[in-house]
Amino acid sequence: MIYAAVVAGYLCIVLAMGIIEFYAVKRPNSIAPMGDMLEHVMRSRTVRVGIIAAWWWFGWHFLFAPTVQAAL
């Protein structure tokens, strides 16, 4: 039950992301699509390198580093 609720939480957030992007593509003058927004904020080197680093870490985490940790 708790497991399902936690997974449902993830799915709700992902679903909300999908809805926002769908709406943004349909009404780009109301809310900019994610690609346009990222292009805008990534004009700053700090944001650009930060976002690229977060992307890279995602791959690092799943492909090289030990992903699952049993306990602290």
Binding site: V6, G9, W55, W56, L63, Q69
Partner: protein
């Protein structure tokens, strides 16, 4: 993020994030004058795609958590850092209000995802039967990435996302 990674025992990840934060702070303090390359790297799309495809093949076929993955990930990390350091040319944009609404929406959802994931992690290591009841994104995705076809899908999606962040797919 750096502190969270260190706290959860992923010391290498923590050091990496601290190093990136330190690098960006130094860059800010020096007024963004640090130049890594004299000229931006420009490669034909076919070359970029060929290199990306080779990297994808290596990441899919090489054993997970092995030294080949380590070397490949470091090579990708250094390359994207070099590419991301210098800005891409500016292009026409959406209205400021639309951009602000988008940034706010995605920030809220991104923070929500991070908080949900962090809570799941904390409960998974502190509550009885926590590992069974509070799956993190890593726990959910790990079986997928362990499978060859799942890893192929993950690597393709991940590399395509990286190319998108570097504006490789952009037509404008």
């Amino acid at each position: 993020m750096a502190s969270f990674q260190t706290w959860r025992g992923a010391y290498v990840d923590g050091v990496l994030f601290y190093a990136i934060v330190a690098m960006l702070i130094i860059d800010r303090l020096t007024g963004g004058r640090i130049r890594i390359l004299k000229q931006p790297i420009v490669a034909p799309k076919v070359v970029t795609l060929a290199i990306t495809g080779t990297l994808a093949l290596v990441l899919v076929v090489a054993p997970r958590h092995g030294w080949i993955d380590l070397v490949t990930m470091v090579a990708i990390g250094v390359t994207v850092l070099l590419l991301a350091w210098e800005p891409a040319p500016a292009r026409p944009e959406r209205s400021k209000a639309a951009l602000a609404r988008s940034a706010l929406s995605w920030s809220i959802l991104g923070v929500a995802l991070c908080v949900w994931e962090a809570l799941a992690f904390v409960f998974s290591v502190t509550m009885p039967n926590g590992n069974d009841n509070f799956p993190t994104i890593s726990v959910l995705l790990d079986p997928v990435v362990s499978n060859l076809w799942g890893r192929l899908f993950f690597v393709a999606l991940w590399l395509a996302g990286g190319l998108a962040l570097l504006r490789f797919w952009s037509k404008r």
